[in-house]
């Protein structure tokens, strides 16, 4: 069946439309429907669809772009709703006062709980946010003095814009959709800009994102907080539409609806949130016989989408009407960074234990500018752990990592990366959804002001490794040797003073290894200090000026490469003989 589908795709028209043609048609249809056909009831459904579109746009930021399955989004929606409901009905405040509060309270709560909770891994994060949502719901139901308890609070005033009380029907729908347009535009600009790119890398590969100088925690927190603002705004508009606030706004169906809208519409896409909301809010109208259990339809839609069309409806539309690929930028060399001479990185007595095992035990080494140092040792001798400790992916138990005069030991990976250390991974990880140019440009996001500039610099890095022709190719499906090349270009694009390479020649043919050796020599010639972890002595020993051999976390040999093969301790460690 898979093959049949693929053939169908091949038959699909390869017609390319002008940019935003689809969005333009969609908006025109929506406006025409609202103005010409919609009954008062239809306008009400459309208004509620706008409310959910706004909430789903916020969810796209934290879940679609940031990859964090926040189940507290419904709670933020409900808190925004209660803020407006309580202030509007009990305190008699107007829209101009209540709306900002409805944005602010969810924002503050998100910042408060986000700091600890965002460190958690995916499923724990989902659980923790669900826990938050349940606590908020319990509080709302059980504090009747403040929230009206299970009955809620009636008498919430309507929206007042610049002194004009917006009446129900078409004006209210227009006002709500005005907020959707505004919020959608902001989110769309953020998503396709610098920040959105950084956030998607944090989603796809948080480890790599950190080593490319991106503040993973800060980006996630910002996404979580911003999504809460959108949810709060949507909650406020929901209450203005219904004129009542009750615990219903905090119940799981709100969360389920937003999640379904985002996934069915297309993860991470603003257009997907809007399309999904309009479609799903109208679905119950077509399945009237289910009455209040329309959520069955949502469940089926959610399951079918995640199984059959993981990129949602906008993803399907993209495949039917592919947009023209953006032309490649002109390569441009980034501004030179002056690399000092002499010792660049001094590691002193670095130690790390896992449980009872001393993975790295008192290792010291110095990387001089414009040199290549080889790091060898049997499997499990602590080579990768040492690289992880220097690049900040693991926290050392003791010892120092000196860059110039500052000790980087135990610092966050992005701080270490900003200090001038870049690295590659033993198992190459590239974001599968991106093309090569975008993957390499991720390394420049922290420094370059615009994506265009980052991509121009990325192309420069690819050119230096003779890989510019890969730029437009998708990362998914690249053969192993080319993946390693792209990852090296990404590290090179950081213009590092110190470059740590974890088995860069693994899986390469002899010809490719010779080519790689040439590239590494050229990189060293620019002043960069290289540390190369490698098993292939035929590749490494001619390349390195200096070699360090580890065994069970301890330095076994340090000196010129010529002495390695004849050192009895090294031979014993590799062959397992008694010395």
């Amino acid at each position: 069946m898979r093959n049949g589908v693929r053939k169908l795709w091949a038959l699909a028209p390869t017609l390319t439309l002008p940019r935003f043609a689809g969005e333009g048609i969609g908006v025109a249809v929506l406006v025409a429907y609202a103005l010409l056909y919609a009954s008062p009831y239809g306008l009400r459904v459309l208004t509620v669809a706008g409310v959910y579109a706004l909430a789903a746009i916020g969810f796209q930021i934290v879940f679609g772009l940031g990859g964090a399955l926040s189940l507290a989004h419904g709670a933020f929606f409900g808190i925004g709703a209660y803020a407006t409901g309580i202030l509007g009905s009990q305190w008699g405040l107007g829209f101009a006062a209540t709306f900002p509060v409805s944005l602010l309270v969810p924002l503050l709560l998100a910042l408060l709980v986000g700091l600890p909770v965002l460190r958690l891994e995916s499923h724990y994060f989902a659980l923790a946010t669900l826990g938050i949502a349940q606590v908020v719901h319990l509080l709302a139901v059980n504090s009747p003095g403040l929230t009206g308890g299970a009955n809620g609070l009636p008498g919430v005033p309507g929206i007042v814009l610049f002194g004009w009380a917006v009446p129900r029907g078409l004006p209210l729908a227009a006002a709500v959709w005005g907020f959707v347009a505004l919020g959608g535009l902001v989110a769309w600009r953020l998503a396709r800009g610098h920040w959105g790119r950084a956030l998607t890398l944090v989603r796809d590969d948080p480890l790599a994102a950190g080593t490319l100088g991106l503040d993973v925690g800060g980006l996630r927190l910002a996404a979580f907080a911003l999504s809460a603002v959108y949810a709060g705004a949507a909650g406020a508009l929901a209450v203005h539409t219904q004129r009542v606030v009750s615990p219903e706004v905090l119940e799981f169906p709100v969360m389920v609806s937003v999640l379904t809208i985002a996934v069915v519409g297309g993860r991470g896409r603003v257009a997907g949130a809007i399309l999904g909301a309009v479609l799903l809010l109208h679905l119950p109208e077509w399945f009237r016989f289910l009455e209040r259990s329309y959520l069955i339809v949502y469940g089926v839609a959610l399951l079918a989408t995640i199984v059959l069309a993981p990129h949602g409806l906008t993803g399907l539309l993209d495949r039917l009407f592919p947009s023209r690929p953006a032309p490649l930028p002109e390569p441009a060399a980034p501004p030179e960074t002056a690399i000092p001479t002499g010792p660049l990185l001094r590691v002193e007595g670095l130690t790390k234990g896992f449980g009872g095992v001393r993975a790295v035990d008192g290792v010291s080494l110095t990387l001089e500018a414009a040199t290549i140092t080889g790091l060898i040792g049997p499997n499990g001798s602590g080579k990768t752990t040492l690289v992880n400790l220097i690049s900040g992916l693991e926290t050392p138990d003791g010892g120092r990592v000196m860059m110039g005069n500052s000790d980087m030991a135990g610092q966050r990976p992005d701080r270490i990366a900003r200090a001038g250390i870049a690295r590659t991974f033993q198992a190459v990880s590239l974001p599968e959804g991106a093309n090569v140019l975008a993957a390499v440009a991720a390394a420049r996001l922290e420094r370059d002001g615009s994506i265009a500039l980052a991509e121009a610099h990325a192309l420069w890095a690819l050119e230096r490794l003779g890989a510019a022709d890969l730029a437009a190719k998708p990362c998914a499906g690249l053969p192993a040797a080319l993946r390693r090349r792209v990852e090296l270009a990404r590290a090179l694009a950081r213009q590092p003073a110190v470059l740590l390479l974890d088995e860069p020649a693994a899986g390469l043919t002899d010809g490719e290894k010779a080519e790689l050796a040439g590239h590494l020599r050229a990189i060293a010639a620019t002043g960069t200090a290289l540390l190369v972890v490698e098993h292939d002595m035929g590749f490494l020993l001619p390349l390195a000026g200096h070699v360090l051999c580890l065994d069970q976390g301890r330095p076994l040999y340090e000196g010129p490469p010529e002495g390695v093969r004849s050192d009895p301790a090294v031979v014993a460690a590799y062959l397992g003989e008694g010395v």
Binding site: G67, L69, V113, P116, V117, R119, L120, E121, S122, H123, Y124, A126, L127, A128, L130, G131, I132, Q134, V135, L138, L139, V141, N142, F252, V256, L259, T260, V263, L290, R292, S293, Y294, L295, I296, Y298, G299, V300, L302, L303, I306, V307, P310, A427
Partner: protein
Amino acid sequence: MITLQLLVNGLALGAAYALVALGFVLVLNATAAVNFAQGDLVMAGGLLGVALAPHLPAYLPLPGLLLLPVVLVLMAGLGLVLAAAAYLPLRRRPPVAVFISTIAAGIILQNGASVLFGPEPRAAPPLLSGGTLDLGGLVVAEQSLAIIAVAALLIAGQQWLFGRTQLGRRLRATAQDPEMARACGVRVTAMILITFALGTAFAGAAGLLLANRYFVTPTAGGDLILKAYIAVTIGGWGSVPGAVAGALLIALFEVGVSSVLSYPVALGLLYATLLVILVARPQGLFGEAARRRA
């Protein structure tokens, strides 16, 4: 005396939670996937008991207990359907895909139940007579003891199956390392299907056990999945004995705090405690058992 009675109640609740958490952790270990529908499966088991009860012949003495095998078998079948629809098509996708697909399955179950049964709470028949026993001044509900006994038997059965049989060895091999198990000739997909069937059957049994004293509503799944999740988290993600211990712990906490304060307070405190544990000790109280799969 009151304390002892509370202890028995807590143990009975904990025994049922333990079945829920056990089913959750078995599926987690076999598939590295979080089954978000587990709570809704408990609810489904409870309502299945409610639906089957009128069909029992009235002259038989042990009404509830007779339903147990029927519920187990039907729920195991539902587990197979769940695996086929929400897990197998997504095996090669990121874990969040299965998370969402099981949320979707839960939504379908929950709202399907509310169409069929309506939103009001229902009670399943008691396992035995529904009376009380006087054990030297300690008055205990027969149902509590029956829940403990049934849950203990089912857990012991699971331990025997996994520890002593050839099938159990294959199931454990699949849970430990599916690639390696496949290389050794284990039919991994079949093992995963069996695990889903087993986990769902346990959820169903828990539903039947709970649905007499605590009633069952179509929306009961949300709190149950959270409790299973909390049990597995404090017991150490992936640890089978830890899940059982965690379930007993939270049930005792819930019964204890409810008796002094109130159920909403107990629930709120439980979730707050969970947040503190997650933040302070994400590896659980007893250490994390499941390795990260690359």
